[in-house]
Amino acid sequence: MSLAAIARKDFQETVQSRGMIALVVLFSLLVAAFAYAVRPTGQSEQFATEVLLSVFIGPFLVTTLVPLVGVVVGYNAVSGERESGSLKLLLSLPHSRADVVFGKVAGRAAALALAVFAGFLLPALVLIAAPVVFNAGAFLGYTVFAAALGVVFVAIAVGCSAASATQRRALIAGVAIYVLFVLLWGAITGRLVGAAGPVVDALPVSAAQIRVFLRASNPTTAVEALSNAFLGEQLFSGDTANQQLSAAAMLVFWTLAPPLAGLLKFDADDL
C-alpha cells in the first residue's frame, strides 16, 4: 500500500527531527508553567480543569502554538524533498504523486498528533499535583481538539508545500496562512464585513450570520468553538449545535482542500 508506506516513512522521519522534539518540549514546558502559574493559591475548589483549559491554556497557548507547530511540520513536506533531491528517490519507486501528497499529510499529521499528546503529558502531571480539581476526561478530550487543530494546519501547510517549487516559497505561504488565520482573521474579516455593509444588506442573510460563518470558517476559531462546547458539555447540542456542525465541516474542508489544490499544481510540474 503505497500511501501507507509513505505515511509510515514520513512519520518516522518527523518524530525523529530535532526541531519537532524541541517544539514539543517548549510547548510542554509553557503549558506546564502556565498551569502552575495560574493555579489557584487559595482553596477555591471552583478553579477546575475546564476553566484552566478554555480560559488560559486554550486562547494563549493552544490556538497560537499548535498551528505554528503544524505549519513547521508541514511546510517542507514536499518542497523540502524536491529541493534536496530525495523526491527523486521517492518517485523512482512505484508511488503516484497523489500518494506522495496524501501520504505526507497522513504521516505528518500522525506525528503532530503524537507530539500534542506528548506535550500535554507534563502539564497533566502538574495539574494532578496541583490543588485543582483535575478532570482527566476533559483534559484528554481537549487534547484531541488541540491535535485536530494541528492536523488541519499540517494539511494546509503540506498543500502549500506541494504547490511550491522551493522551500522558501512554501515557508512564505505557510507563514502567511498562520498570520491570516491565527493573528489577523478577526480584524480582516471584521473590516471586510463592515466595508461590504451595503452588499450584505442586499443578501438574504444578516451580518450576524456572516460573522458566525466567518468564525466557523477559520480552523482556529472553529476548534475553539468546538472545544469550548465540549468543555461546557454541550458538544453538538445546545444553542450552538448548528454552528458547531458547520465548524466541524469546515475543519474537514481545510484538511482535504489544500492538499488537493496543492496536488493539482504538483501533478502538473516538471520535477
Binding site: 508506506a5 509513505i6 534536496s84 533531491g85 523512482s92 508511488h95 516538471d270
Partner: protein
C-alpha cells in the same frame, strides 16, 4: 518486445531545448549505454522515462506502456538509480531498503541487498552520515529490489572509487545475465565499454551516434595519432605531410609534429619528412583512445586534435571534468550535471 521506446521526443525548458526530436529504442534484455557530455540532455531523457519531466512533444513508452498514464505500474517493474538525488538523512540504510521493499510489495531481504552492494556494515547507520559513494550504493540496493525487468541507472559510477565502479559493473553484468534490461548513462566512455551491448551518444539533445563500442571505434578509429620528434621541420615540410593521402591533420607542438592519419599512411609520413630533409629523431604512434572517440562525436573535430590538447582546452560548458583515465574509472567525484 521493446523495453524503452522514445518517438520524436522533444523537451523544452523556458527558452532551452534540452532534448530535440529524439528517437530511441532499447530492446528487451539489452545493456544500453547512454553517453554524452554533461548538459547533453541525458538526465532530462531519463527523467522523462520516469515521468518526473513531461515531454513537450513525442511519446515515451517503457516496458510496453505509456509513462504518462501507467507510470506507477511501470515503476513497479523498474529499478532506478537517479542522478542528483539525496537520501533521507534521519533514516538508516536498512530503513531505506525496507521502504523500497514495502513500496514495491516485494519480499526481498533488505540485509541481503545491502550486503550485495557492500553496505552490510553500515546498515544501521543514518544515511545522512553516508559518503557520496555509499549513498550511490544505497540507491542501487533500492533499485535492485524485486528483481526489476528494467534497470535505469543515471551516472551510476559517480562518486565511486575504482573498486566501487568495478563492483557496479559486475552488478550490471549480473543483472543483465538474469535477463534484465539495463539502461545507463555516463559521461565517461571507458565505463560503458566493458558492459554495453550498444551505446548511444547524445549531443545537444540529439542522438549523434548509436552502435556497439567496436562499431563506433571502427567508424572513427581507422585514425591513429603519430607523434614525430622532428626539430628541423619547417612550414614547407609540414605542408608536404599535410598534402599526403590519408593524413587528416598536422599540428606543430614545439619540436614535435602531431599527425593524425590512417594507420597505413605512417610510413609515407616519415618518408616524406626525410625526403624534405628533416631529421626524424624519434616517432611513436598512439591508437585513438576511447576518449578521442567520444570527443570526436561530442565535439565533432577530434580528427584535428589529440587528447592532450582536448584536455588542456576544455570547451566552455563541456567535459572539462572528464580527463582520460586509463583504468576506466571516475576519479572526479560527483560531476554536476546541469541539464536545465
Amino acid at each position: 518486445m521493446t523495453a524503452i521506446e522514445l518517438r520524436g521526443v522533444t523537451k523544452e525548458f523556458a527558452g532551452v531545448t534540452a532534448v530535440r526530436d529524439l528517437d530511441l529504442t532499447v530492446e528487451d534484455g539489452e545493456v544500453y549505454g547512454f553517453l554524452g557530455p554533461n548538459g547533453a540532455g541525458k538526465s532530462t531523457t531519463i527523467d522523462m522515462l520516469l515521468d518526473l519531466v513531461r515531454p513537450t512533444a513525442g511519446t515515451v513508452r517503457v516496458l510496453g506502456a505509456d509513462v504518462a498514464t501507467d507510470g506507477v505500474a511501470i515503476r513497479r517493474r523498474t529499478g532506478v538509480l537517479p542522478d542528483g538525488f539525496s537520501v533521507y538523512d534521519r533514516l538508516s540504510g536498512r530503513k531505506h531498503v525496507e521502504f523500497a521493499v514495502e513500496s514495491k510489495d516485494a519480499a526481498d531481504d533488505p540485509d541481503a541487498l545491502l550486503a550485495r552492494v557492500g553496505l552490510a556494515d553500515a546498515a544501521d547507520r543514518d544515511a545522512g552520515a553516508y559518503s557520496k559513494g555509499m549513498r550511490q550504493r544505497l540507491a542501487l540496493a533500492m533499485a535492485l529490489v524485486d528483481d526489476p525487468d528494467l534497470l535505469v541507472l543515471d551516472e551510476p559510477s559517480a562518486g565511486l572509487d575504482p573498486a566501487g565502479a568495478k563492483e557496479m559493473r559486475e552488478i550490471v553484468r549480473a543483472e543483465a545475465e538474469r535477463g534484465a534490461t539495463v539502461f545507463f548513462s555516463s559521461h565517461i566512455l571507458e565505463q560503458v565499454d566493458a558492459v554495453c551491448d550498444r551505446v548511444g551518444i547524445l549531443r545537444d539533445g540529439e542522438l549523434v551516434a548509436e552502435d556497439s563500442v567496436e562499431g563506433l571505434r571502427e567508424t572513427v578509429g581507422g585514425e591513429e595519432t603519430l607523434e614525430v620528434a622532428a626539430a628541423g621541420a619547417d612550414d614547407e615540410a609540414v605542408a608536404t605531410v599535410r598534402a599526403l593521402d590519408g593524413v587528416s591533420g598536422v599540428t606543430r607542438d614545439g619540436d614535435e609534429l602531431v599527425v593524425n592519419c590512417d594507420s597505413d599512411a605512417k610510413t609515407a609520413v616519415i618518408g616524406a619528412l626525410e625526403e624534405a630533409g628533416v631529421a626524424v629523431a624519434d616517432f611513436h604512434t598512439r591508437e585513438a583512445s576511447l576518449e578521442d572517440l567520444f570527443l570526436a562525436y561530442t565535439e565533432g573535430d577530434a580528427a584535428t586534435r589529440d587528447a592532450d590538447s582536448a584536455a588542456s582546452t576544455p570547451a566552455d560548458d563541456e567535459p572539462a571534468d572528464d580527463e582520460p583515465t586509463d583504468d576506466g574509472t571516475d576519479d572526479e567525484p560527483a560531476a554536476e550535471e546541469v541539464d536545465r
